[in-house]
């Protein structure tokens, strides 16, 4: 049963990609820069020897929002971020931060960003405050450096730790020191490489709230492979796979585009011996707007995968499903809208497409 949904996703995906690439091509040709784009890349490529870690990425990131940069492990996320942060030069292609080329005007580009690499490397022999003060000075915070450090400490909730040695801190705290470093000079762009890695659930929630706060005055570009994070904080996504763009755009659009019109719902009802799966299928088929993707018997239960219209019609359709089942004296045991839609999007986009592969959705 899950296979059906997966295949449906795959079909939509390919058509979406075609449309997407067409849109890309026109964007590349015009060569015009939208003034609102904070990050812009054109055919960005980076090879390590013969292997292309990043292969012709063209994307743009609009300002003042949280943008998710998604991809499976080894997709080239970190490499791309290193290029954007001015650490790695691209093998070919162009990347611009706020209109400044990261190679040609590297210093200007770097002045406009706060970068937190994966695992937040720090100097263990320094104290938190010493480190942040050093970083602020390095980034040209001359006036009110103390205030800037105080603000960064406060926002990342590590004021209590300011006199501790960095080497003594736990991973979560170090991560926050890394973030405090990224925001200390109030750059218009934050580039964060897997920032919530190693944080406990409470910290993750705080962290997300902080990101949303920060997005009021800066653009946050964060890489992650945690999809719930993207759904929780990002309004825009760029998805890459094996060094290539798989999708980009506002989160809702990417989701809608890939998900199609419907939303997947799992239904489990009590199915007495006397009633066949076909009868159940026929019952559900009669409901307005509901598409039955699969029906299977599992002992005394009938498990179905339904597709209901998304948006306002969704609630009505779900109610109708429950009413129909209860009316036919079939007790509803489970009704689960598949909320983790981005996960499916992600799979559909990034996994090798072999028709025999069966994956739980």
């Amino acid at each position: 049963m899950p296979m059906g949904c997966f295949n449906a996703g795959t079909r939509r995906d390919s058509s979406f990609l075609r449309g997407f690439r067409a849109a890309l091509d026109t964007g590349g040709r015009s060569g015009e820069r939208a003034p609102s784009a904070v990050i812009e890349t054109e055919h960005l490529t980076r090879s390590y020897g013969a292997r292309k870690a990043v292969d012709g990425l063209t994307f743009s990131v609009p300002g003042k929002q949280v943008v998710g940069f998604l991809g499976p492990n080894g997709a080239g996320k970190s490499t791309t971020l290193k290029i954007l942060a001015g650490f790695l030069p691209p093998s070919s292609g162009v990347a611009r931060i706020d209109g400044y080329d990261v190679v040609e005007a590297s210093l200007e580009a770097r002045r406009r960003l706060g970068y937190m690499p994966e695992t937040a490397p720090l100097y263990p022999e320094l104290r938190v405050r010493e480190y942040l003060s050093f970083r602020a000075e390095l980034k040209g915070v001359t006036r009110d450096r103390k205030k800037a450090v105080d603000r960064a400490l406060e926002l990342t909730d590590i004021t209590d730790m300011q006199h501790r040695l960095i080497g003594e801190l736990s991973k979560g705290y170090r991560q926050r020191v890394g973030l405090a470093d990224a925001i200390v000079a109030r750059p218009p762009l934050l580039i964060l490489d897997e920032p919530t890695e190693g944080l406990d659930p409470n910290q993750v929630l705080k962290f997300r709230a902080l990101l949303k706060d920060l997005a009021r005055e800066a653009t946050v570009f964060l890489s992650t492979h945690i999809l719930s994070e993207v759904e929780a904080v990002c309004s825009h996504v760029v998805i890459i796979d094996r060094g290539r763009i798989a999708a980009q755009g506002p989160l809702s659009e990417v989701l809608a585009e890939l998900q199609g019109a419907g939303r997947l719902v799992k239904l489990a009802v009590r199915l007495p011996e006397g009633l066949s799966e076909e009868a159940l299928r026929a019952l559900l088929k009669g409901i307005d707007g509901v598409v039955v993707e699969s029906v299977e018997r599992e002992g005394a239960l009938g498990r179905c995968a339904l597709r209901v219209p998304s948006g306002e019609a969704e609630a009505a359709a779900l109610e109708a499903v429950v009413r129909a089942c209860v009316g036919a004296e079939l007790g509803v045991r489970e009704l689960t809208p598949q909320a983790r839609s981005l996960e499916r999007v992600f799979q559909a986009l990034t996994e090798p497409k072999s028709p025999s592969a069966e994956r739980p959705s």
């Binding site: 942060a85 650490f87 790695l88 030069p89 002045r111 970068y115 690499p117 490397p121 720090l122 050093f134």
Partner: protein, 253 residues
């Protein structure tokens, strides 16, 4: 300039916060103290003790033996092995180079930091002059020249060390490379002036790069501008190359 200052302060903070600096300082003083004691004993046991003047223990300490160059040869690589190799290992090079700083200011700050630590190592040796002063007058200008020479030679060694640290993957490699390059290229080169002494032009070339000869002159108060030019050129060349190496280390990831 401002970022160089910030980086320089960070270098000093990290150097003096780590136990390594104190291990180096203690072994340095132990080593030099023994040498100085040895020279004091030699001069004092001579029939006509010459504790001051051009053959005194201070001059011997800074000039006339191989030991005066041997100390920087061992200690300079130890001071610089950390500077880039450690940043690369702990990946802080990434945060460092993505801050709005130029490679030049990073290299300058690293060099100046190591140089300051090196100079600090020599400060306690001023006590030796006070010891000598109990037995007679000290030639303070001569001593000044000797310190200037020591700092120049050390500076050149440190610059080589900084370059090797930028090239090497680990601290140990950085130490060995600097030791080999300084020992092989700078230390051994001076031997030429003793080996090829039948050809005047060749001898003069090797004498130009002969560390011991330089130190012998410095120790008696002669500041030879050729030596000053030689060491400052080595420093400039090495730091220039380090800047390039840092740029290409970005390429290597």
């Amino acid at each position: 300039m401002r970022s160089t200052w910030a980086l320089y302060k960070r270098e000093l903070l990290s150097s003096f916060c780590s136990p390594m600096a104190y291990v180096v300082l203690v072994s340095f003083l132990l080593f030099n103290g023994m040498i100085f004691y040895f020279f004091m004993k030699i001069t004092a046991s001579q029939p006509a003790p010459t504790l001051t003047g051009t053959r005194g223990p201070l001059q011997m300490f800074f000039g006339s033996t191989i030991l005066s160059v041997l100390t920087p040869l061992v200690f300079c690589p130890a001071l610089t092995m950390r500077v880039f190799a450690e940043e690369r290992r702990s990946r802080t090079l990434e945060t460092l180079l993505t801050a709005p700083v130029t490679e030049e200011s990073v290299v300058c700050a690293k060099f100046l930091g190591a140089f300051t630590v090196y100079a600090t190592l020599w400060v306690p040796t001023l006590l030796y002059a006070l010891v000598v002063r109990r037995y007679g007058p000290v030639d303070w200008t001569g001593l000044g020249a000797a310190y200037a020479g020591t700092l120049l030679v050390g500076g050149a060694f440190l610059a080589v060390g900084v370059l090797m640290s930028a090239l090497a993957r680990s601290q140990v490699t950085a130490f060995l490379l600097s030791f080999l390059v300084i020992g092989g290229a700078m230390f051994a080169l001076g031997l030429g002036s003793y080996i090829f002494n039948d050809n005047e032009a060749v001898r003069r070339f090797f004498s130009y790069v002969n560390l011991w000869e330089h130190m012998e002159h410095f120790s008696v108060g002669v500041v030879d501008s050729r030596a000053v030019v030689y060491y400052t050129s080595v420093i400039a060349l090495c730091l220039g190359l380090t800047t390039r190496a840092l740029g290409s280390s970005r390429e290597a990831g």
